[in-house]
């Protein structure tokens, strides 16, 4: 038993899971805020890609990773702003405008990657430092999982709590939820639905942008075309599975990250399943979860509906 536990390396699995869940959680939190205000955000994938790219370029140019993180957040918010303008101002269907952002992000980052980054053969700006929290980092089990991480992962954990408080305890959150459930009612209560939706979509973009920084600045220290690899969509599934709550999204993201790590581990435990099959574990799980376990999760009532007062 003991040997099995050691071989299974549960602590390592947990640490890998928390780490890999980072971008999922951040994007899912973004999704929660955006959709709670009534705007579907299928653009998270493109937002993360933009954040990863812009953050990397900024860090490369200034040799300052922290500046890069800031730029990632800002650029995420800005490209989300484009989604907001299209969806709120021009009443473009929100799924369509989200798709546009996704395609655009692939195109723009691809083109500029080629021009500005690909030729570089110098070492990149590196990755964000690992912060070992004094004392806590040495705790058995908990230490390696929670207290030996990099900035984006710490920020993710803190943000889960913050977004929860923001959504359910603050004035902003109350108004946000009102806009997502019944925008006209919110408007008659003297709230500017437009302002709230802009704010939340851009906040969602900022969270997604930070998620993008995970890839280029925390993990890889480089930018690659399409490096977000569909994580934005999995984050959306996590958001739904988590029933549009921050903690729910957090747990759902952990589940997906764990299944990814586990699927890969089955290979070096020598379990004889074709690796193509084990590698689909997170996707199969997502489908099962979205279809089965959740049932018909109840979305914010007005999500996806354009609102325009005359």
């Amino acid at each position: 038993m003991n040997e099995f536990l050691q071989r299974a390396d549960l602590v390592g699995l947990a640490a890998a899971t928390l780490l890999a869940s980072t971008p999922l959680v951040l994007a899912a939190l973004g999704g929660v805020m955006s959709e709670r205000s009534g705007v579907v955000n299928i653009a998270l994938e493109g937002i993360m890609l933009t954040g990863a790219f812009m953050g990397y370029v900024a860090a490369l140019a200034t040799h300052n990773l922290w500046f890069g993180v800031g730029v990632a957040i800002l650029s995420g918010a800005l490209i989300a702003g484009l989604h907001a303008v299209l969806a709120i101002e021009f009443l473009v269907d929100q799924i369509v405008s989200g798709t546009v952002i996704n395609i655009l992000a692939v195109g723009i980052t691809g083109v500029y990657y080629r021009t500005f980054i690909q030729q570089q053969n110098v070492a990149g700006p590196g990755t964000l430092p690992v912060w070992k929290i004094p004392f806590l980092a040495n705790l058995p089990v908990l230490g390696p999982i929670f207290f030996q991480n990099q900035f984006v992962t710490y920020a993710m954990v803190v943000l889960v709590v913050c977004v929860h408080l923001l959504l359910f305890r603050s004035v902003w959150g109350l108004r946000t939820r009102a806009c997502g459930e019944h925008p006209l009612a919110a408007e008659t209560a003297g709230i500017s639905v437009r302002f709230m939706r802009y704010g939340n979509v851009m906040l969602s973009g900022a969270l997604g942008g930070l998620g993008g920084a995970y890839f280029s600045l925390q993990q890889v220290g480089n930018f690659l075309p399409n490096m977000t690899g569909g994580k934005g969509f999995i984050a959306l599934a996590a958001m739904i599975f988590g029933k549009w709550t921050p903690f729910g999204a957090f747990l759902a993201s952990l589940l997906f990250a764990a299944s990814d790590a586990l699927g890969s581990r089955l290979q070096f435990y020598g379990i004889n399943i074709p690796y193509q099959i084990t590698s689909t574990l997170p996707y199969v799980l997502t489908i099962i979860v979205v279809a089965g376990a959740v049932g018909r999760a109840i979305a914010p009532a007005a999500v996806g509906r354009p609102y325009k007062k005359s």
């Binding site: 395609i103 997502t286 979205v290």
Partner: protein, 361 residues
């Protein structure tokens, strides 16, 4: 004459959108330090003026027609089938299998069999998200994206030294299909094949289906208002499955057509990004089957000319995505184009997708 005018008016906003798209993309090229005029000229040249390039452009157009129709049918019923990519794969796999495994059939039998197998493959794969949505309310955007990932793995499993792998090949691929399953070439010394005619035939069929049959009425009703459709005795669940089946059959046909007409075998990684591109095609065409043809031609030209553009100017083919995205923006936001060009006409707003019942993504 009035008809022509009507068509022109219909085409005006998409046309202006395309122009806007190219302007924005040109600006992106400019920012990257290359000469946008050169790039766009090379793109045009590569798509139309080089040897065989018209044939190649048409070849690239074929899958876009099928896939654009596939996505458009979904749109009509308020479904967002992002899974065209995966269905394309399954169609290609099924078409390839029938293409190489059956021996001694005459072409007149073998080709329809292989094509039908492709349609069935795509259909079967699309029915999965259809049933999941109808039965459990699982949003098709998420399930189809996941199924796209799974399709990649399935195809790799089958072909990469798997049951469908060619044991004699030095690279993972299926065996070649039989000559009797190859779609006939239309022009000597070029690759343009019968698939073009199939694609062009699919357009009026889909149009008739949507506009003139009860099936089409059923799916439009479901797309516009599920509650009212249900109250009128239409089974929404069945309709969703039916629509996904039709959509998947078209996507599968596209996949089979690529194998039977162009590559004649299938490697494990077969299509890259057709799924998302075809969404763009359907959007630009505003889900109108007739509009799919020019839209597919536009995207086919861009894809076909991209290589030559890169050769001449070394501008990345990713630029095409920028054009696509901007074109969609302008098409999807007619308000914006009208505002830009001071048009007075009032184009229809595309079918809302996000605002379906319980359709939160």
């Amino acid at each position: 004459m009035r008809l022509v005018l009507h068509w022109l008016r219909q085409a005006l906003v998409p046309l202006l959108s395309v122009i806007c798209g190219f302007i924005v993309a040109g600006f992106a090229v400019f920012l990257s330090g290359a000469n946008p005029v050169d790039a766009l000229v090379a793109l045009f040249q590569g798509a139309f003026l080089e040897r065989n390039s018209v044939s190649e452009t048409l070849i690239a157009t074929i899958p876009y027609i099928f896939l654009g129709l596939a996505v458009a049918i979904g749109f009509k019923a308020g479904l967002f089938n992002i899974g065209a990519e995966g269905q394309f794969y399954l169609g290609a796999i099924a078409g390839t299998y029938v293409g190489y495994s059956l021996h001694g059939l005459p072409a007149i039998v073998h080709i329809p069999l292989a094509v039908a197998a492709g349609m069935l493959g795509g259909l079967g794969y699309a029915v999965i998200p259809g049933v999941l949505k109808a039965r459990f309310g699982a949003h098709e955007v998420i399930t189809t994206i996941m199924l796209n990932h799974i399709a990649l793995a399935v195809s790799d499993y089958l072909i990469n030294r798997g049951p469908m792998g060619d044991p004699h090949a030095s690279a993972p691929k299926t065996p070649f299909i039989q000559h009797s399953a190859e779609l006939p070439i239309l022009i000597p010394n070029a690759r343009l094949h019968l698939g073009l005619l199939l694609a062009l035939a699919a357009v009026p069929i889909v149009w008739f289906l949507i506009e003139r049959t009860t099936v089409g009425f059923r799916l439009r009703a479901v797309g516009l208002n599920q509650t009212a459709a249900r109250a009128a005795g239409i089974s929404v669940g069945w309709t969703i499955v039916l629509v996904m089946a039709m959509s998947g059959a078209l996507a599968g046909l596209a996949g089979a057509d690529e194998v039977l007409g162009v590559s004649h075998f299938m490697p494990p990684t077969f299509s890259v990004g057709y799924g998302f591109d075809s969404i763009a095609v359907a959007l630009v065409a505003r889900s109108n089957p007739w509009g799919i043809v020019p839209a597919a031609f536009l995207f086919g030209s861009m894809r076909s000319g991209a290589g030559f553009m890169q050769l001449q100017t070394q501008v990345s083919a990713d630029l095409i995505s920028v054009v696509q995205a901007t074109v969609i923006i302008f098409v999807a936001a007619p308000v914006m184009v009208r505002w830009l060009f001071r048009l007075r006409e009032r184009p229809a707003i595309p079918t809302p997708l996000a605002a379906q019942e319980g359709a939160a993504v």
